[in-house]
Assembly symmetry: C2
């Protein structure tokens, strides 16, 4: 297999204030690296774009991953093909799940690679059979624990995580109310994903509409957005409700605490009086114990047509920054994936 | 046994705005009621004063108990003596744990009474062997789950709940840092209750002092106050920390959400990134499953001198309103109990 001598990569050019702009990224050319003994060279086929990446653009980084350094490639999960191998465990041509980041080529010592075999649709490893769906599975089933007849609310209802949350909740016999941005997404959630209802967050009076859509209150709120959706849900939480906290995308772009009023006291009073369990989780913690069960269940559900996975595919690495900014604004429709190369 | 024909009761005269004032209560005389068939007449010996009562003064009441109606006696747990009985299960002279409220006499059909036998210090049934200590036991052990060597933080450290939280945490091998109002309370928490440290919340720079007192971060924060203590704790919470939420006394007197900045986004981001489990609980839910274990353990700990219980005793029903207002301001020192009568 021949490889180029230079390749493209998208590096962090500046740390954003608020929503990132195209100027915070820079597409540049670099020499394709050479694998040392024990390493493989990876060719990126698909790059996953996910909201957590916004946190890694801040100097502080996160509790689970360090910040991307200025001038370094943006990080990200990928489906990659082994282009050259000096590692006994990987042969050239093999397809792997990797963390190659926003670039055409990357090196790996193999420790972070998962062989994908002959997966019919490899990009599924970044979505419906990958991290976002696994996040939905663990958060909903292990923390949310919906029971038949209970009401589950999830925002970003057609996104990579929310769509799977809602569909699994339906499989478990819960009533599912989604929230999404736009009439087309809401229609898709109800007609294609089988949600019982889906509310357009761009229309006025979200709180009133959500109350009307949840006449028996809310038993599980899968928190992946924060902001006004959380505000609308809190008054509806039932006794003993569970709130898995997987993301607060509405706040990722905030530099400082927003102006008041202070919503914390009301939340705490609700947590107390309604005996709410609110629990944050980072999916990295759960691979060892739960990934096999997830892969088995999810493969079966997808093959049986019980869970549908929609991909929002963008062509070309150079379009990753704009697509990522759109993701933070809720402009994606399905799991956002960049097709970087065909083979 | 002879009984008076009139008795005193403290009724809710007005719904408070913010901190209650004496004018929100009214001491009045009423006829001592006559028990019907199946009822007992109870003579109040000790009345418990607890922060939750503030919530019941608001028209909305709570999810676990309705509001006190205007003109009706304030509710409250009591140690009472059976003064007259037309109930086959209770004989005159018997000592019972009851919910007779802020008055000299009350009727009961027996369903809410617990015989106290010959308890040496009957008022303990309202504190160290009663609801506040049971709250500490369930919240700390079942939700907080401290492990040896972990750091537990509790505010209102010499109060009826906080003092027991800290002492049980010490018994379980945790390091305990208390927060209390005043140097005398802090000294007591360290010297008498065995806390590893106790910070005076009235001194400046609480957040910095708490960080210094918790060099390994905070694994369990028993939330019983809210407000600035929560603010100081949040940045120190470790990965996987647990936050049992038993009360938010700092906010009970608020009519409306306080001015900003909005502290909710920071809390949610912390819950997510540090995988925090925050769980509200109302002790009423746990009597059936956990009270016997609590009573057995706690009796043993008190008798062995492993847990100390301090009572802040006020003499006379007429002093209940002022004592209760003081409780909301943190002026009590130990479990607040009103001695209403001697026998």
């Amino acid at each position: 297999m021949t490889t180029a001598t230079t390749h493209r990569r998208v590096v962090l050019a500046a740390r954003p204030h608020g929503l990132p702009t195209p100027a915070d990224f820079r597409l540049e050319l670099a020499a394709v690296p050479e694998p040392d003994e024990g390493q493989v060279l990876l060719r990126t086929l698909y790059l996953s774009l996910d909201p957590y990446m916004r946190n890694l653009m801040d100097a502080a980084g996160t509790a689970y991953a360090p910040a991307v350094r200025l001038g370094e490639p943006m990080v990200g999960g990928t489906v990659s093909r082994v282009a050259a191998s000096r590692h006994p465990g990987f042969r050239v041509g093999e397809l792997v799940l990797a963390n190659a980041g926003w670039q055409d080529y990357a090196l790996s010592d193999g420790s972070d690679l998962t062989p994908l075999g002959d997966l019919a649709q490899p990009s599924l490893a970044l979505g419906g059979l990958g991290m976002p769906a696994f996040t939905a599975y663990v958060g909903l089933l292990d923390i949310g624990q919906p029971r038949p007849g209970e009401t589950v609310v999830v925002a970003a209802a057609t996104g990579a995580v929310g769509a799977v949350v809602g569909q699994i909740a339906r499989l478990k016999g819960a009533r599912v109310v989604g929230i999404a941005g736009g009439a087309d997404k809401c229609r898709y959630a109800v007609e294609e994903l089988g949600f019982d209802a889906c509310l357009d967050r761009r229309e006025p009076a979200l709180a009133e509409r959500l109350a009307a859509a949840c006449p028996d209150g809310v038993d599980v709120y899968f928190e992946n957005v924060g902001g006004e959706v959380l505000d609308a849900v809190v008054p509806l939480l039932n006794l003993g409700a569970r709130v898995p906290v997987c993301g607060v995308i509405a706040h990722y772009n905030e530099d400082a605490p927003p102006a008041g009023p202070d919503r914390l006291p009301r939340l705490m009073a609700t947590v107390l009086q309604r005996r709410i369990r609110m629990q944050g989780f980072i999916i990295l913690d759960h691979y060892a114990s739960r990934f096999e069960a997830f892969r088995r269940d999810m493969t079966q559900w997808i093959e049986a047509g019980l869970v549908r996975v929609r991909e929002d595919r963008v062509d070309g690495l150079e379009r990753a920054p704009a697509a990522f900014i759109g993701l933070l604004e809720g402009r994606n429709f399905g799991k956002l994936v960049v097709r970087v190369a065909d083979a």
